[in-house]
Structure formats: structure tokens, C-alpha cells
């Protein structure tokens, strides 16, 4: 007997993987052409896409953030390899953020649908619209961050200290949540 929602889950998974793969591919092609970093970029992109696909097929949604982190690492390689005078890599950050957020949403949705619940058609359309809206909001938010980061007011020791504190808080939150035992 065919499981309801499996086609939808597969579609969401393919869309997530495709979006992630396209982002990674674009980043690798724009990245540094020096051989070791270029090769590392390819490896990270391949591992990210294959890992995401395997995780969604095997119903292991924990791989979604790992795949996103690998593509983010690809982006970091691009940024590290490119000369700072070239603004193209930085300007792509909002698009990369939007693509990653959309890929994550599609990946989580695919994992949710794998549980086999029957979805109403209206709910599917609403979810698609929500993902689209969140992706656009992500682009805008990331653009705002880039603009704020470029301003003189936000450079120096104090913003760095705030950043360290924020990262530490989030890290602590993640560790606390992991210790409580998360459920898919």
C-alpha cells in the first residue's frame, strides 16, 4: 500500500537537495581557483548534497543542519579565497542565506512528511507559501546584517564581544537542548 504523502515528501526532499546543491555548485564555481581549496570546496559540496539525500531517505533529519553547515563552509572558502576588494562574494551573502533557509525548511518538511500523515491540499499550499515568505525574509534580514556589518558604527571590540556572548549563549542553548534529548 502506498504511503500517503510519500510523493510529497520525496518532492520536498528533492527540492531541498536541489537548492542546496545549486547553491554549493554556484559557490564552488565562484570560489578560488587554487587547487587544494577548489578541491575541498567540491568535496564539501558533494558531501553536503549526498549526506542530505541519505539523511532524508533514511529518515535522519539530524543531517539537515550538517549539510547546511558544509555549504556555509563552502561559502567561507569562497570568502577566504577571494580578494576583499572584490565585493561580489559578500554581496551574495543574502542570497546564500535565503537559499540555505529555504533548503532547510524544505528538508525539515520532507522529514515531517515521511511520518505518513495525510495532508490537506490547502495545508501544502500554505506551507509552500510560508517557505517562500520565510526565504524572502531571510534574504532581507541577511542583507540588513551585511549593511550593518559594513557600517563603521558596528566595528570594534564591543560588537565583537557582543558577538562572542551571543554565540556562547546559542551554544549553551544547543548543548542544553541536546542534553534534554530531542525528538524528531
Amino acid at each position: 500500500m502506498a504511503r500517503p504523502g510519500l510523493t510529497l515528501a520525496a518532492g520536498a526532499g528533492v527540492a531541498s537537495g536541489g537548492l542546496l546543491g545549486a547553491t554549493a555548485l554556484a559557490l564552488v564555481q565562484r570560489g578560488p581557483q587554487t587547487t587544494p581549496l577548489h578541491q575541498l570546496g567540491w568535496v564539501l559540496a558533494a558531501v553536503a548534497v549526498l549526506g542530505l539525500a541519505a539523511g532524508l531517505v533514511l529518515e535522519r533529519p539530524q543531517v539537515v543542519p550538517v549539510a547546511l553547515a558544509l555549504v556555509a563552509a563552502d561559502y567561507a572558502l569562497v570568502l577566504l579565497g577571494a580578494p576583499r576588494s572584490v565585493p561580489g562574494a559578500t554581496a551574495a551573502a543574502p542570497l546564500v542565506a535565503g537559499a540555505l533557509f529555504a533548503a532547510a525548511e524544505l528538508g525539515w518538511w520532507s522529514a515531517e512528511l515521511r511520518r505518513g500523515a495525510r495532508e490537506a491540499p490547502a495545508a501544502v499550499l500554505r506551507r509552500l507559501a510560508q517557505i517562500g515568505g520565510l526565504a524572502v525574509a531571510s534574504v532581507l534580514l541577511a542583507a540588513g546584517c551585511i549593511l550593518a556589518g559594513g557600517a563603521v558604527l558596528l566595528s570594534g571590540v564591543i560588537p565583537t564581544a557582543v558577538g562572542v556572548a551571543a554565540a556562547s549563549c546559542v551554544l549553551g542553548l544547543a548543548a542544553w537542548l541536546a542534553a534534554r534529548g530531542a525528538q524528531a
Binding site: 533529519p61 547546511l68 546564500v96 533557509f101 500523515a117 556589518g149 554565540a167 546559542v170
Partner: protein, 426 residues
């Protein structure tokens, strides 16, 4: 209202880790672009955690019918209500193995500002019995899916699934009938419709019973004799000590269906029908007649199950009124348990009008795979054959009924065997 328990999702933990890694990497490498990548996830995390109050839900399950026959479809309505909107509520209706849902027994609904939502599930009754539907496992999540709330809610409703009886065209004829009017043609002679014999007219005979053709031919008055229509007591003896089962079908299922069919057919003939469930749990229903008795029989059958018991039981544990002296006893047994075999032997020894339908368990046994198993299988068949022969020699007509075969030929076989036994040698 049920308060659902709070649960962190893998998504929440994963997002938190991702944000932390991106922020730290951005700081360590001096790349604000990574912070920009982390920003949407961080905002989602903050919003998701800030807006995750524990929801209260009220769930109710209703069925379109509380009684059904095997193979019927019943619609289950699961209604969920919450004082505040919930983006996605996943409802998983707990179903017994004998009831399946078309598609999935898991449905996702959205509770809008109206405060309630209803999901419909098409259920198919695959097996007989009193089936418990519910409770409902509820999983509710917020708009961003970071925090999930879950728990069991809703009560249980009972769905009584009746066995689908086999079609019967002929029934066993009892050796003796009762004094009450029924549809059975009695072996005695008296007032009735069925022609029996002729005899010479004697004073007191009714004139309307004179057979004028014979009278004209013989020259002296002759009258027709008839068999009266009477009813009888039928006691259905269901052996529930053991059940040979494969997948969803077993000997007990077959026997229950046959008992239901026989009870319905005999009650339709105005017979009085009683039931003895002889197994780990002893059940009985004193003989009665009419539609009410049919419902009593069916309700008693629904609770029939194999209960493991090592206690020795024989007929002495039954109330005396359960086995009226002129009753016809039809036993349905797989002949697997020595207690049941002993009981049917005792019934025969006590002079009851007994017929045995052996519900064949051999079809449910796994096929032998090697030489030793083949030998054991053959020995088992021989032992069963010897048991049947013993019962036959004790004067008990016995016929074997295999799964997938109609019951009518089995009854015809028993009918023939019983007629041969009653025939007086010339």
C-alpha cells in the same frame, strides 16, 4: 481538555547548533557574512522559543456506526478543539490489528481561529470481535516547527464487528424434535403438511384426511398420515481451547463464522439455539429462540478468544439445563486440545445427538521444510486420522471443514452420515 507535554524537536537542536557554529566561525575567521547566514536561523530560533506555550486540546472520536459486519466500512470522525490556533496538529488514531484505515490512520489538520478541526478516516473491518478504536496520539507544533507538544487524548469507542456468516442452503436434521411447532419435519406422525403414509380409516379420523383416490381403488376408506412440523433444541459447541492461526485467519475465526451462520439458520427455522464456548474461559447461553437470541449468540461470540489455561475441564462444569436431553449438539472443533476431544467423546457417550464439524487446522500449519519435519507432519496427520476414526467408531458423525471451502458440502456429508446411522437394517 488535555494538556500536551512539551518536546524539543531535532529541528530545534539542529538549528541551535547551526547558529552557534556559524556565529563562532564568523567571529573566529572575521567573516561577518557567516553571521548574516546565521541571522535568519537565529531569529527563527528566538521567535520559535518565545512563542511556544503549551497547548490544551480536546479530542473526541465518533463512528458512523457502532456495529458492522466483517468487510464493512465505517467512518471515524476525529474532532480536535483548542482554545488557540495551532498550525499543524498530527492525529494518529490507535487502531486494533483487525481494523485498518484507508491510506493512513494519521492525519494532519490545522486549527484556525475557530478553535476546532475535524478529520475523517475510512476504516475497514477486517476481523470480527469487539474492537477498541482510540485513543488518539496528538502531536502539535508551532508555526516554525521548532517546539512540539504531544500526548494521548480522546477516549475509546467500541466497534462491534460481527462475523460474516457462511451461506447455508441445508441444515442438519435432528434425530428428535420437541413438542413445539417449528419448521423441522418430525419423524413422528401427526398433524402436519408433509405426507407420511396411508392407513385404513378408523372411527374418530377426520373426514378431510380421507384419501379419496386410494379409497376408490381399494373399496374401503383410507386416510393420509402426515409428519408434523416441530422445532428442536440445537446446542452449538465451540471449542476455544486452541487456535491454529496464520496471519489474520485462524480456526477460531472459521468456527465463529460457522457458529454464527448455523445459529442464524436454525433460529430462522424457529429452533431453540444455545451456545457453549468451551475453552480457557467457559461461556454458555441457554437455548432460546427468536431474534433476541440471535443477538445474544452474536454478542457472546464477539467476546470469544483463546485464553491459555492448563485447568482440566469436562462436561461436569456445565449447568445441566445447558444440554437438554433431546437437543442436537453440533460441535465445531479443530480437535487439537485433549480436553475438547474428551468433552465431545463424553457428549457422545451420554447419548446426545452429536455431530462434529472438524475445523481443519492442517492448512494453517507451516509447510515442512526438511525430512524430519515431513515425518513429524505425516505422523501428526496419522494421529488426527486415528482420532477421527475413534470418534466415528464411537458413533459420532464427523466431517472436516477446511479454510476457503463452503460449509454446505460439510453439512451434507454429516447429514448423509447421520441418515445412514439411523437407518434400521432390514
Amino acid at each position: 481538555m488535555t494538556r500536551l507535554a512539551h518536546r524539543s524537536t531535532a529541528r530545534l537542536v539542529g538549528t541551535a547548533w547551526l547558529v552557534a557554529v556559524l556565529l563562532l566561525a564568523g567571529l573566529a575567521l572575521g567573516l561577518p557574512e557567516l553571521v548574516a547566514l546565521a541571522a535568519p536561523f537565529a531569529v527563527a530560533l528566538a521567535v520559535g522559543l518565545a512563542r511556544s506555550p503549551t497547548p490544551l486540546v480536546a479530542v473526541s472520536v465518533t463512528l458512523s456506526a457502532d456495529r458492522a459486519v466483517e468487510g464493512d466500512r465505517v467512518t471515524a470522525r476525529v474532532q480536535v478543539a483548542s482554545p488557540r490556533p495551532l498550525e499543524r496538529v498530527e492525529l494518529t488514531l490507535h487502531l486494533p490489528p483487525a481494523v485498518t484505515a484507508a491510506g493512513s490512520h494519521r492525519v494532519a489538520v490545522r486549527i484556525g481561529p475557530g478553535g476546532s478541526a475535524t478529520a475523517q478516516l475510512e476504516l475497514t473491518c477486517r476481523g470480527w470481535g469487539a474492537q477498541r478504536i482510540g485513543p488518539v496520539a496528538v502531536r502539535a507544533r508551532d508555526r516554525l516547527g521548532l517546539v512540539e507538544h504531544g500526548g494521548w487524548a480522546g477516549g475509546r469507542v467500541w466497534l462491534r464487528v460481527y462475523p460474516r456468516p457462511p451461506r447455508l442452503h441445508a441444515l442438519l436434521q435432528p434425530r428428535r424434535t420437541l413438542a413445539h411447532t417449528g419448521n423441522q419435519i418430525a419423524r413422528q406422525r401427526g398433524d402436519g403438511i408433509e405426507f407420511s403414509d396411508l392407513r385404513a380409516f378408523v372411527p374418530g379420523d377426520r373426514v378431510r384426511r380421507i384419501n379419496w383416490r386410494v379409497t376408490a381403488r381399494r373399496g374401503s376408506p383410507y386416510v393420509n398420515l402426515h409428519h408434523p412440523e416441530r422445532n428442536t433444541d440445537v446446542v452449538l459447541f465451540l471449542d476455544s481451547f486452541r487456535d491454529a492461526r496464520r496471519d489474520r485467519e485462524g480456526t477460531l475465526d472459521l468456527a465463529v463464522r460457522a457458529v454464527f451462520g448455523l445459529a442464524a439458520a436454525h433460529l430462522g427455522r424457529r429452533d431453540r439455539v444455545g451456545l457453549i464456548g468451551f475453552g480457557g474461559v467457559l461461556r454458555w447461553l441457554t437455548p432460546g429462540t427468536g431474534l433476541t437470541q440471535l443477538y445474544r449468540v452474536v454478542d457472546a461470540l464477539l467476546d470469544t478468544e483463546v485464553v491459555l489455561s492448563y485447568a482440566w475441564k469436562d462436561l461436569d462444569v456445565l449447568p445441566r439445563r445447558m444440554l437438554p436431553p433431546r437437543a442436537m449438539v453440533v460441535a465445531l472443533t479443530p480437535l487439537l486440545d485433549p480436553r475438547a476431544i474428551r468433552a465431545v467423546s463424553d457428549l457422545a457417550a451420554r447419548g446426545h445427538d452429536l455431530a462434529i464439524i472438524e475445523v481443519d487446522p492442517t492448512g494453517f500449519a507451516p509447510a515442512p521444510t526438511d525430512r524430519v519435519e515431513r515425518l513429524a507432519h505425516r505422523l501428526w496427520h496419522l494421529m488426527r486420522e486415528a482420532r477421527r476414526t475413534e470418534l466415528g467408531l464411537a458413533g459420532v458423525p464427523i466431517a472436516t471443514w477446511a479454510a476457503g471451502e463452503p460449509l454446505d458440502p460439510v453439512l451434507a456429508q454429516l447429514l448423509g452420515a447421520r441418515r445412514r446411522r439411523w437407518r434400521v437394517p432390514a
